[in-house]
């Protein structure tokens, strides 16, 4: 089972992830309150979300469809009958004193996702309601509660312990992110908490038959932190075991500032959640017809889109793969190439645009770039209004301000100089000012040609048409 390339100091990490995904639905899982992010505190709250005496939950069919879509996308089994259970615990942001979830009869089980050619099994994915939010740092002397999130539908995706390294965990998480965003069942926004991750980590010797004792790291909220938290935890466990200690089964929290995990509660103090079937909800039967109707409704999956991009746009496999990795980017690409050159657009999206997104660690929707404007940028390169080098500057500008490409070019006078007479004048001035170099060039120092090009570009602030500059220089120097 162990893969030797993932060994760390002779230890084999064993990792399983529990990924909580907030589903995009109009209303909450069991109440008619709106499911939205970023509204004023406690404005999206129904009687049911408040846990008032006498209220009852009613299942949101939309959330059920989202769960089924995920199951279909991962070749999983969809439950014929799913049952909701109550998970009982006291917390101020849990108004009913229990969370409605699915323990024994989840909506989805036995799925598979492929990560870098390796199959990682999904044990189950179940529907449950989110809790509210406790806010401890707003007021000095009290904690307050926002129940807008209370009852928001979650799909908790539980992997088997098939993951063998922190980077593989990140790749798996990215794959899950890709699937849910492609299916449009979640925006997958980790910083806003619509995708959250718990990691179960243990280590073993490659020859061991049984897994080691695991620690669960709770609520990790970025891809980067997933990798860091797991790596820290692996190192921590190695240190313990190599000192002949025992890893404790416990829940730990990742502190991203100190880059360490800290014990939250040990097994001894683990909650007894007293699960039992929720008597307010009858077992839900999911018919084959219903599943088929959901399947018909499903959006294109990443692999399907990639194939289509290769055949429709004549992209190579690599480019199509990079563009289709993110549904937003893929849709963006399709918008851009309605009016712009396909290969050039692909090159700019994969290269410069992706670099900016990575550098600022945001997604396309969060950026100021829109498809029409970006398309114009590509068109301006194609029709030689601007050079590639200037285009980079324009991109920086529209990235920062969102201004229209044509306005940026106009206001900064970035149009390429392609007027032969104007360029000839500039070149003559430069040659006159650099007699020594001209003589050296003429006596055989060919490399100085580049020096002259540079001088012209400097004089024109990079706006000279490079092809024309070459041509004119050659003529003048011959």
């Amino acid at each position: 089972m162990a893969q030797n390339d993932s060994l760390i100091k002779g230890w084999q990490p064993v990792i399983g992830l529990e990924v909580h995904v907030q589903l995009m639905t109009n209303t909450k899982l069991f109440s008619p309150a709106k499911n939205q992010f970023g509204e004023d505190a406690n404005t999206l709250v129904d009687l049911i979300d408040l846990g008032l005496p006498g209220v009852l939950p009613v299942l949101n069919e939309g959330a059920m469809k989202q769960g089924i879509k995920f199951g279909l996308a991962t070749n999983a089994k969809i439950a014929e009958t799913m049952i909701f259970d109550r998970k009982n615990y006291f917390y101020p942001d849990l108004p009913k004193g229990y969370q409605i979830t699915q323990l024994h009869y989840p909506i989805v089980r036995d799925g598979i996702v492929e990560v870098n050619g390796k199959k990682i099994r999904i044990h189950q994915a179940h529907l449950e309601e989110d809790a509210g939010k406790s806010i401890h740092d707003k007021y000095e002397d009290k904690s307050v509660i926002d129940l807008n999130r209370s009852g928001v539908p979650l799909l908790e995706i539980v992997s088997e312990p098939d993951i063998r390294s922190a980077s593989e965990a990140v790749d798996y998480l990215k794959k899950i992110h890709q699937i849910i965003t492609y299916l449009d069942i979640s925006d997958g926004n980790m910083s806003q908490g619509s995708m959250r991750c718990d990691a179960n980590v243990s280590i073993m010797k490659p020859e061991d038959k049984e897994f080691g004792i695991r620690a669960e790291i709770k609520n990790i909220n970025s891809f980067k932190f997933v990798e860091k938290a797991i790596n820290f935890e692996i190192r921590r466990q190695i240190k313990i075991l190599e000192a002949n200690g025992v890893v404790e089964q416990e829940t730990r929290l990742y502190d991203s500032i100190k880059d360490e995990t800290r014990s939250m509660r040990t097994k001894e103090f683990a909650n007894d959640y007293r699960y039992f079937p929720c008597p307010d909800l009858v077992p839900t039967n999911i018919s084959k017809d219903f599943i088929e109707s959901v399947r018909k409704d499903m959006d294109e999956l990443p692999e399907e889109k990639q194939e289509r991009f290769i055949s429709t746009y004549n992209l190579n496999e690599y480019d199509a793969g990079v563009i289709c990795a993110d549904k937003q980017i893929a849709n963006f690409f399709e918008e851009v190439v309605k009016d712009a050159d396909i290969q050039l657009a692909a090159k700019w999206i994969i290269g410069d645009l992706n670099a900016l997104l990575n550098k600022h660690d945001i997604n396309l929707a969060e950026s100021k770039i829109d498809a029409t404007n970006f398309s114009e940028l590509i068109q301006k390169i194609t029709d030689k209004t601007i050079s590639g080098k200037i285009a980079k500057e324009v991109l920086e500008e529209i990235w920062a301000t969102g201004t229209k490409v044509s306005e940026v070019i106009d206001s900064k006078g970035m149009q390429q100089i392609s007027d032969e007479g104007e360029l000839e004048n500039i070149i003559e001035t430069i040659l006159n000012e650099n007699n020594d170099q001209v003589n050296a060039y003429k006596s055989g120092k060919d490399k100085l040609f580049g020096f002259f090009v540079g001088q012209v570009m400097k004089a024109t602030q990079g706006k000279a048409n490079p092809g024309l500059v070459n041509e004119l220089l050659k003529k003048k120097l011959s």
Binding site: K96, Y98, F276, V282
Partner: protein
């Protein structure tokens, strides 16, 4: 005046809704039996005036112009809903329960909300934070519970109809002890929306009245398919009042084999035997059924009901509404002291039992086992109903008992529900009606029907009441 007479008088304009309400309120204000937790003079009079002013719209509604008292377990918008607990002493719900709304739409006027065992946990109405209720027939005795106030209210003729809830007998047992008629409908017939949950898988609201007629009319108002309650069943609408006059012909009625072995009081058995002759007199055939195994239901019930209640009552934590312990410095103390002070002993006992039976290591032995017994009882009833149309048995082991007599002995108190619990476990409809008297105290008999067989239950009881007078007796 019984329900039908009062409604007829309203419909023929012999009495206005306002007059009926005034009359009822006068008696309610004079109540010495501690039947009510709150009454609502201003709201009731306003509502009655509205009905009088819109007479034509209301006159044909099932409860037109009739004052009603609701058990204080049903949420009422803008008015207190206490559930008999200190925890909710000052709680005002921002919404109406479906039952309350349905009754309002049916032309009734809520005049008061009735006392009850705290969170419906009890069989004597002695666990109420607002004090015990007295039995109208003898003020030293209990009215039964948990809907003790609701039963006493109709028995003492303060209103002609009232609502109750029945989780393990909480409608039928007080109906029997107070000498009136009370029906627990099939689980899923009446919406639970807005009814404060005790044991969600068994709680069911139902009607009280002196007779089957009043119960039928009130059930017509109460029963509705409600999308807000996922356990509510969509079914063909039946007009229960109309079905009273239907002829269901000769029925096979199951009667209890070896009844003397169940520990039932002799007077109750005598009344039972007399009722059997009434049934045969009406042309029905009696078939003996073996009820002995069903007594295991009580053990199953006292695992499942506390389990569900331990979870249902978790929301009363002092954070959002209801009672909150003052001056607590941290959340754990806030929880502990709020719940220690806010709940009474019986409620706390059941929460503890429920928490225990759901705990890791005990779940299989208690909760799961209890669910198996529950399924077995359901199957047993299904088998009974292959041969019979109805099952007839006493409602209680005993007549009304003295206050404080059983409250110290939970086993005695829990046994009160022996004959009522099986119908709750199976989700079947059952009706209790007065079928005898001894020592100037009423005795109740119980008919259990098939799922959604309320029409037959009410019809059969109505036919019995056409030839007997027990339901006409007044304290």
């Amino acid at each position: 005046m019984n329900f039908k007479e009062l409604r007829d008088n309203f419909r023929t304009k012999k009495i206005s809704a306002k007059e009926a309400v005034k009359e009822s309120l006068a008696k309610i204000k004079d109540d010495k039996l501690n039947i009510f937790i709150n009454h609502f003079e201003k709201e009731a009079l306003g509502n009655a005036e509205h009905i009088d002013n819109n007479f034509e719209d209301f006159k044909d509604k099932p409860l037109s112009g009739v004052p009603i008292a609701h058990k204080d377990i049903f949420c009422t918008e803008g008015l207190p809903t206490t559930c008999g607990s200190k925890m909710l002493e000052n709680f005002i719900a921002p919404y109406d329960s479906t039952v309350v709304k349905n009754c309002l739409d049916a032309g009734s006027i809520m005049v008061a909300k009735t006392n009850m065992d705290e969170f419906a946990m009890g069989s004597s109405n002695e666990t109420s934070y607002f004090g015990a209720v007295s039995n109208p027939w003898n003020h030293d005795l209990v009215p039964g519970g948990s809907s003790g106030g609701a039963a006493a209210c109709v028995s003492a003729n303060l209103t002609t109809i009232s609502t109750g809830t029945d989780t393990g007998g909480s409608i039928r047992q007080p109906a029997a002890l107070c000498g009136i008629t009370g029906l627990k409908p099939t689980y899923g017939l009446v919406s639970r929306w807005g009814m404060i949950a005790f044991c969600s898988s068994m709680d069911q609201a139902g009607p009280f009245s002196k007779d089957a007629f009043g119960c039928a009319a009130l059930l017509d108002a109460m029963a509705s398919y409600d999308e807000k309650d996922s356990t509510c069943t969509k079914r063909k609408e039946i007009n229960f009042e109309k079905s009273l006059s239907k002829d269901f012909g000769s029925l096979n009625v199951g009667v209890i084999k070896n009844i003397e072995k169940l520990g039932i009081n002799e007077d109750i058995i005598n009344a039972y035997e007399t009722s059997k002759t009434v049934l045969t007199g009406l042309g029905h055939k009696l078939i003996e059924v073996d009820f002995s195994e069903l007594s295991s239901g009580i053990c199953s019930y006292y695992v499942i009901a506390p389990a569900e209640c331990s979870s249902n009552l978790s929301r009363f934590d002092g954070v959002k509404y209801g009672y909150r312990s003052d001056g607590e410095k941290d959340i754990v103390n806030l929880y502990m002291n709020t719940r220690s002070d806010g709940f009474g002993d019986e409620v706390k006992k059941r929460i503890l039992i429920g928490t225990h039976v759901l705990s890791a290591g005990f779940y299989d032995a208690y909760y799961l086992q209890a669910q198996k017994v529950r399924r077995m009882i359901k199957v047993k009833f299904e088998n009974f109903f292959k041969d019979v149309d109805l099952i007839f048995m006493p409602t209680t082991l005993d007549q009304a008992f003295e206050k404080n007599r059983k409250s110290d002995d939970p086993n005695k108190m829990y046994k009160e529900d022996l004959l009522t619990i099986p119908a709750n476990l199976a989700g079947l409809p059952a009706i209790s009606f007065p079928n005898g008297f001894k020592n100037n105290l009423p005795i109740g008999g119980q008919l259990i029907g098939k799922y959604f067989g309320e029409d037959l239950l009410l019809n059969t009881t109505h036919k019995i009441q056409e030839v007997t007078d027990w339901h006409k007796m007044t304290p």
